[in-house]
């Protein structure tokens, strides 16, 4: 058994989806970083602007550093509506002039002399972004550095970052979805040749041994080539086998015919009664040999025919009549009443004419040899949905306990001398191949023993 894996489509689709998901995740992560950077940049400007405004407000008056907090600085920061603001103004001596004395983003404020310094820190339990700016102030006591530290909570930044990220996510998700749908369509289209090849193989008659004539993409060519190679080999094998059977048949039959011919030439009149008896036995054995040989070869032929022959509609009446005429010898005992009755309606089955004829012929032959004492009736009838070929004789019939076995090859019945050979086996195998079966009907008062072959009728859908 071959393990059934998930379809190519779902495998491809899954992989594409994984790639898209990874891509989307990467893009979203990048978008998040970008959004955070953008938000930081935007709000840092506000922060820096406010810090500058406040630093500008540091003035030396009366040799005293004074500071007038500009409300506009806070209005600027107020653009981030929900964010809290902390600030601290440090005079050159390091004392906190005003604001929140405990806010200290960095131990070394002097770093901000070169350029404003931004930092993130936690203040009063919340995340804040701080900027430190320095301003040189000159008083009579000399020049020193005053510092303005402004801190703002990060709610607005986070809101902006998450809003930007959300937009990016929506965009990326939409693009990914489109890409996924597009990929699915593309995969479907690309895989169509595979489906088509599958359809061709599925619709193909198993007996059809001609090479596939499908135009397929390069990737599928090895499969088609392999399949064709295999079909060719199989075809060759079947042909070879059939020729072998045919040749063997010829090779065996010719000497056998010569043997019977020569035996038939022996002048019985000159023989002693004993020799005559021996001759009779030779004759019988030769006939038996001939019959078995025929059966053997026909069996092989019939079985191999199903490997390579395509089934066709066959008229059951015709095939039964042909089998009947071919099988009943002209030299039959004149006292034997032999009749054939065709069905009044046309019975069409799907089958192989030759195999089917061989099957029926074998059943009739068997009845003639082992059954019929004075009467043989062959009938084609309809039996429900089945077409039935009935071969009835007035002989003792086959005991029911042997019914199951006589269809086996070379089965020897205890009640019957010799074996029925392959006759029923051929009939049974042909019936089986054609979706039918062989059956038996025991002899009852007034009704003879019958062997029948049932075959499914072709549905009449000629419109």
């Amino acid at each position: 058994m071959t393990a059934h894996k998930s379809s190519l489509f779902s495998r491809l689709a899954r992989r594409v989806a994984v790639v898209l998901a990874l891509g989307a995740a990467t893009l979203i992560t990048a978008a998040w970083f970008y959004a955070r950077a953008a938000a930081d940049e935007a709000y840092d400007r506000l922060l820096l602007g406010a810090a500058f405004q406040m630093a500008e407000s540091l003035v030396v008056a009366d040799d005293r550093l004074s500071f007038v907090l500009p409300p506009s600085a806070f209005e600027l920061l107020g653009l981030a509506q929900r964010d809290r603001i902390f600030y601290r103004v440090v005079d050159p001596s390091g004392e906190t002039l005003t604001g929140y004395g405990d806010i200290s983003p960095s131990a070394d404020l002097s770093r901000s002399r070169a350029a404003p310094v931004f930092a993130n820190m936690a203040y009063r339990g919340v995340e804040v972004r701080t900027v430190t700016t320095a301003r040189a102030v000159t008083s009579q006591s000399g020049t020193g550095w005053a510092y303005v530290i402004v801190a703002q909570t990060t709610e607005a930044r986070q809101a902006l970052a998450s809003e930007l990220t959300t937009r990016a996510v929506i965009l990326v998700a939409a693009m990914s979805l489109l890409a996924l749908i597009g990929s699915a369509l593309a995969i479907r289209l690309s895989l169509r040749p595979v489906d088509q090849l599958g359809d061709i193989l599925r619709q193909r008659d198993p007996q059809d041994l001609t090479p596939l004539a499908a135009t397929v993409p390069r990737e599928l060519l090895p499969f088609v080539t392999s399949i064709n190679h295999f079909i060719n080999r199989l075809d060759e094998r079947v042909r070879l086998l059939q020729r072998y059977i045919a040749d063997s048949a010829h090779q065996i039959r010719t000497p056998l015919t010569a043997l019977t011919a020569q035996v038939s030439l022996i002048n019985e009149d000159t023989l002693s009664p004993d020799d005559r008896r021996h001759l009779e036995r030779v004759r019988n054995r030769t006939a038996e040999l001939a019959r078995f040989t025929n059966q053997l070869l026909n069996h092989a032929m019939v079985i191999h025919r199903f490997d390579s022959t395509q089934l066709a509609p066959v008229s059951l009446n015709d095939v039964a009549r042909k089998a009947f005429r071919a099988t009943v010898p002209i030299t039959i005992d004149p006292d034997m009443v032999v009749s054939f009755e065709a069905s009044e309606e046309e019975l069409t089955v799907l089958g192989d004419l030759l195999s089917l004829r061989e099957a029926i012929a074998n059943v009739i032959d068997n009845a003639l040899r082992h059954g019929a004492t004075s009467r043989l009736e062959v009938r084609a009838t309809r039996f429900g949905d089945l077409g039935r070929i009935e071969v009835c004789d007035d002989g003792p019939g086959i005991p029911p306990e042997d019914w199951a076995n006589v269809t086996k090859r070379f089965y020897s019945s205890r009640t019957e001398k010799g074996s029925s050979g392959l006759g029923f086996a051929i009939a049974s195998e042909v019936a089986f191949e054609l979706g039918g079966q062989i059956g038996f009907r025991g002899k009852t008062a007034g009704l003879p023993f019958c062997v029948y072959i049932d075959l499914p009728l072709v549905k009449e859908d000629k419109g």
């Binding site: 004074s66 409300p71 806070f74 209005e75 107020g78 509506q81 964010d83 603001i85 002039l97």
Partner: protein, 358 residues
């Protein structure tokens, strides 16, 4: 009459304080039904104005007793800082006209946010961080004594007021009243905003006020009382709600909404982060912001509303907000500037020097 009591409060507020303890005026509104909880309101808001609101609120929640503690704004602020630091037990809700102090509290993490069906009713300028909500609409007005101020003298703008004082200094010397911005948080907030709205006219006005030896009182009602008593002819920067309440009992009081600009203050409400029963505080907050609470507020307590018409007898522009004359004091971080120590100190010093240092 409630005036004597108010005077007493003012005196108390100005008296040297015993260490640590800040005393407010406490009144208990018992539950009408079986008491299931007690809401503690710490307010810097006239109790008489709040009374109809509290009673209506209680009618919705009969199981609630309400303990109403009234402070002056600066005391309320100090008490709230102490409560935030965990030093004393604070209220479940703070109500204050000095919204800059509330903003400072919220900025320092002393508030907790509240979001409900009713909080969305607060206009954008009256909501900061869902922590501070303005629940009133109070234009800042001039009040004058009809008996002594002739109609032609009645100033319709800050400029006109300054001009009046310059042209008739003798008529109004010692007869102009306003807040003591050092004692009154609201006074400081209003003066600070005046200085920002119109720096030039503010400078002129302050100069004129100092020349006319302005009478300085701690609180709205005291200023109004001075007018009623005939000591003051004209008061500057009075909360419209108090003025209107007073004018309903004293028809001599004229109210003018200045037409150059009218500051609009929205009294702030805040749930402290250390509130013992924040759920109860939020109930009251929702009530104050609800249509029902606003209706009671307009009819019985504060008389003005953002969308409603001005009360009769009030002299002012027809459409306060649409005309752009109304300048609401936005509850937001910009108010932090008012709360800066140096800023405050410098501003008050300058003011005192101008007003008193004659």
């Amino acid at each position: 009459m409630l005036l004597p009591r108010l005077v007493m409060i003012c005196l108390l507020a100005m008296a040297p304080r015993s260490a640590g303890a800040i005393e407010g005026d406490k009144e208990l509104f018992p539950a009408s039904g079986t008491e299931t909880g007690k809401l503690v309101v710490h307010a810097a808001t006239d109790l008489e104005a709040m009374r109809p609101l509290v009673l209506d609120f209680q009618s919705q929640y009969p199981g609630l007793a309400v303990e109403f503690v009234d402070y002056v704004t600066n005391d309320l602020f100090r008490e709230a800082i102490d409560a935030c630091a965990g030093r004393v037990q604070g209220g479940d809700i703070l109500l204050s006209s000095s919204v800059d102090q509330l903003v400072r509290l919220a900025n320092d993490g002393c508030a907790q946010p509240h979001n409900s069906r009713d909080t969305v009713n607060a206009p954008d300028w009256a909501n900061w961080r869902d922590e501070i909500f303005g629940f009133t609409f109070e234009p800042i007005v001039f009040v004058y004594d009809r008996r002594v101020v002739p109609a032609k003298d009645v100033p319709r703008s800050h400029e006109e007021l300054a001009d009046l004082l310059r042209s008739k200094p003798d008529d109004y010397r010692g007869r102009i009243g306003t807040y003591d911005i050092e004692a009154s948080g609201v006074g400081y907030l209003l003066a600070f905003n005046d200085s920002r709205q119109a720096p030039t006219s503010y400078g002129r006005l302050i100069e004129s006020l100092s020349r006319t030896q302005t009478v300085i009182r701690c609180c709205n009602n005291e200023v109004l009382g001075e007018i009623a008593a005939g000591n003051v002819r004209l008061a500057y920067n009075v909360l419209g709600s108090y003025a209107y309440a007073a004018s309903r009992t004293n028809s001599d009081l004229g109210i003018v909404l200045p037409r150059d600009y009218t500051l609009v203050l929205s009294r702030g409400a805040m749930i402290p982060s250390t509130a013992p029963n924040p759920v109860l505080g939020k109930l009251l907050l929702d009530y104050l912001l609800s249509p029902r609470g606003r209706a009671v507020s307009r009819e019985k307590s504060f008389f003005f509303s953002e969308n409603g018409p001005l009360p009769a007898e009030v002299d002012g522009p027809t459409s306060l907000m649409e005309s752009g004359i109304g300048r609401p004091i936005r509850i937001g971080p910009a108010l932090l500037a008012a709360q800066d120590e140096i800023q405050r100190r410098t501003f008050i010093e300058d003011w005192k020097r101008l007003i008193e240092g004659r």
